[in-house]
């Protein structure tokens, strides 16, 4: 593996986040090293998606305590577009429709925004088409999707494939996959997972947010964290997934002194 192994890419320390006066995340600590794949699991409402959104810079989330360091820089001080240009990619749980904007035009604008930031020449239409076709073949995305409006009228599976295509094009350093498995049939899930696995490498890290263990059969994580009521109640290696598969989340909640309603949580 590369010299980057065990080098921290993202360090989250004591992160507290509030949404409209409600505290969602309560002191998250998490370190993601280069090349690692982390799965964040947990029951609905545990704060998984909040964590993903805070890392990507969505507005409406107030960080009340703690810090996040990305590539040694204060991540929380960066606007969302700068995070994206610096290599953070959020695959959306619900990709957004942009009527009238060709998907290929949008993809090209995104790729060139990132390339420009990295000091690379912007790609012209021909070069971009070549690049996107190559990536589409890898990701099993139909070419026809390029010429439709961004996500408009896409099926659930098409939207997720399109997210992974964007990831492949933007070549992020840290990819955050928010429920990338939701709403996918088994074939689509396999294709999406293949796409993600093809991008794994020593210079790239992943945070996968998921509700279901099934995704972990296709994308094997290095670390698993169970989030409940805004806290990480258990971290472990991939064997934790098997345990969760057999026993569910209940026993972990009990051990953490929480009941299913979150009572006992601070």
């Amino acid at each position: 593996m590369s010299a980057n192994e065990k080098q921290p890419l993202l360090v989250i320390e004591d992160l507290w986040v509030q949404v409209e006066d409600k505290t969602i995340l309560k002191g998250i600590d998490l370190t993601v090293n280069y090349g690692e794949v982390h799965a964040i699991m947990g029951p609905n409402g545990s704060g998984k998606s909040t964590l993903a959104n805070v890392l990507a810079g969505r507005e409406g989330y107030e960080v009340t305590r703690g810090q996040v360091t990305y590539k040694g820089r204060d991540l929380l001080a960066m606007p969302p577009e700068e995070r994206a240009r610096e290599g953070i990619f959020l695959a959306f749980q619900y990709p957004v429709e942009i009527p009238g904007v060709n998907n290929i035009y949008f993809l090209k604008a995104a790729v060139n925004a990132v390339r420009k930031h990295r000091g690379l020449p912007e790609l012209d239409a021909m070069d971009f088409l070549e690049l996107v076709k190559e990536k589409m073949a890898q990701m099993k995305v139909r070419e026809e999707m390029l010429y439709r409006a961004v996500n408009e009228g896409f099926s659930g599976g098409e939207k997720k494939r399109n997210e992974i295509l964007q990831m492949a094009l933007l070549e992020p350093t840290l990819a955050i996959l928010d429920e990338i498995d939701s709403g996918l049939d088994i074939d689509a899930l396999r294709d999406v997972a293949d796409g993600v696995n093809a991008l794994r490498g020593p210079e790239r890290s992943f945070i996968m947010v998921t509700h279901y263990q099934r995704l972990l059969h296709y994308i094997e994580p290095d670390h698993i964290h169970v989030l409940a009521y805004g806290e990480v109640i258990r971290s472990g290696d991939r064997t934790l997934a098997h345990e969760l598969e057999e026993r569910g989340y209940g026993w972990l909640l009990e051990e953490a002194g929480m009941d299913a309603q979150g009572a006992g949580a601070p």
């Binding site: 507005e59 960080v63 929380l76 969302p80 957004v96 942009i98 904007v101 949008f106 604008a109």
Partner: protein, 482 residues
């Protein structure tokens, strides 16, 4: 969290990018309007008596008329006696014969606006009849057009060289007494373009005119007349920007189109006049009468406009569908930012049998802008089988702007089919975040979303104009949300 100020807010507040003043000496009349002023204008232009009489008749009618106030726009009263009705660049006698002879400062002005005349003319194959204030200073590609028998010249030249054509068509589509502003224009019109496409000729290039308003407080009264004879085709582009000024400037243009049997006229406008400051001061008042007559059977007139400038816009490019099977189209993007107020739309008058019309209107409101679509679809008794489709979409940015829709539908023939669809939407935070999470900054994101919203209209513009219009929407959403 991270980004402090509202991106929309910031875009909305940025500066108007075409704001500068060209320092060329003007020969102007003192402010005021009376018959002597009209005689002066007519004499300056060496017009024949019939045209002077035509102007005077319009003026006398205008004096009896009152300014219309039914539009959804508000502005202080206009003092028509405080306006100067004649301004021309100096040295009108030795007009340049080629671009080399054009005042370099003028060329520089065009450059700043991104309108390099020579490049445009040479590379894009566009013949440009550039109107700088009131007098045409550069006409190109005339010879090439002449080979096809096409006439493309300043209206005043057409009056001298082709009086029979001008006399036959001038004021026939927009009569001098049509409305208050058209009557004013008929009395004092200064310059404009004249186009005649002979039978069966397809005009080999896009015809293009850039109107500029330069002299302070000089009313601009352009008048354009385009005639497409049987089975001919012409695409005409009109684009405008204006320098920043403190006084309100009145613009009351008239455009008349005539399409004979089987002819097709495509008229495209990108309008980027000074929209005024954040308080609405200094913007252009744009009161325009544009109308096309589909005179012959199977004729077609298409209006496409991208209106991002002016503080007041009052404009309804219309089609009179007299010929059987004639077609009228209106594609519009109107953007109101700052304190801009736009009341714009179209009239489709179905007279002939099996006439059809399409109206696609996209209104964008930002800042304290107000955007109104006003459209009339009228189907007369004899318009058997007439069809209309109307779609009005409004996009709101922020919560201090407004959008209004005033559709009027009058149908007197039971076989007509008239459809009207309308939507109103806001740019969502989700859309903005999605774009930003892909590396686009807020301005790029807004521009992208707005251009997507306007796509159906932008697609109707000729290629190079479409690119310009997209940039303009971007810039206006920096300086308006463009």
């Amino acid at each position: 969290m991270s980004s402090a100020e509202d991106p929309l807010d910031r875009l909305v507040k940025s500066e108007y990018k075409a704001g500068f003043v060209t320092d060329i000496e003007e020969e102007s009349l003192p402010p005021g309007l009376n018959e002597d002023v009209i005689r002066f204008i007519s004499a300056k232009k060496g017009e024949p008596d019939w045209l002077l009489e035509w102007r005077l008749a319009a003026f006398r009618e205008w004096q009896k008329m009152t300014e219309p106030h039914w539009a959804h726009v508000h502005y202080p009263p206009i003092d028509y006696q405080a306006i100067s009705y004649w301004a021309a660049p100096k040295r009108p006698e030795d007009r340049p014969q080629s671009l080399d002879e054009v005042d370099p400062e003028l060329l520089e002005t065009f450059e700043k606006l991104g309108i390099p005349l020579h490049e445009r003319a040479a590379l894009a194959g566009v013949a440009v009849d550039a109107v700088f204030d009131s007098v045409s200073v550069a006409t190109t590609f005339k010879d090439k057009l002449a080979e096809h028998g096409i006439i493309f010249c300043p209206l005043s030249e057409a009056v001298r060289e082709h009086p029979e054509l001008v006399r036959k068509y001038l004021g026939k589509v927009v009569p001098p007494t049509d409305n208050f502003f058209a009557a004013l224009n008929s009395a004092v019109f200064s310059e404009g373009s004249f186009v005649y496409i002979p039978k069966g000729v397809r005009c080999p290039m896009e015809l293009s005119t850039y109107f500029r308003i330069n002299a302070a407080a000089t009313g601009q009264f352009e008048r354009t007349l385009i005639i497409a004879d049987e089975d001919s085709y012409v695409s005409y582009l009109e684009g405008c920007t204006a320098p920043m000024r403190d006084e309100n400037q009145l613009h009351a243009a008239v455009v008349e189109l005539v399409a004979e049997r089987g002819a097709h006229i495509k008229y495209s406008t990108v309008q980027n006049w000074y929209p005024g400051d954040e308080e609405g001061r200094g913007g252009i008042y744009n009161f325009v009468t544009k109308r096309g007559l589909c005179k012959g059977d199977y004729s077609k007139i298409s209006w496409t406009q991208v209106e991002t400038g002016s503080v007041i816009t009052w404009k309804y490019p219309s089609c009179i569908l007299r010929g059987d099977h004639s077609v009228g189209e209106f594609y519009s993007v109107a953007l109101s930012n700052l304190r801009q107020q736009a009341d714009t739309g179209t009239k489709m008058i179905h007279i002939g049998k099996h006439t059809s019309s399409t109206i696609i209107s996209k209104g964008i409101s930002a800042g304290h802008g107000s955007n109104a679509y006003r459209g009339l679809v009228k189907v007369m008794d004899g318009a058997e089988g007439a069809r209309n489709f109307t779609q009005c979409d409004s996009l709101l940015m922020g919560d201090t702007c407004s959008a209004h829709t005033f559709p009027y539908i009058e149908v007197r023939n039971p076989s007509a089919q008239v459809e009207h669809e309308a939507t109103t939407s806001k740019i969502s935070e989700d859309q903005l975040f999605y774009c930003r999470a892909r590396g686009l900054d807020a301005e790029e994101a807004v521009s992208l979303i707005v251009n997507g919203f306007c796509k159906e209209v932008i697609n109707e513009l000729p290629m190079e104009f479409a690119v310009e219009a997209q940039k303009l929407l971007g810039v206006s959403l920096e300086g308006a949300v463009g």
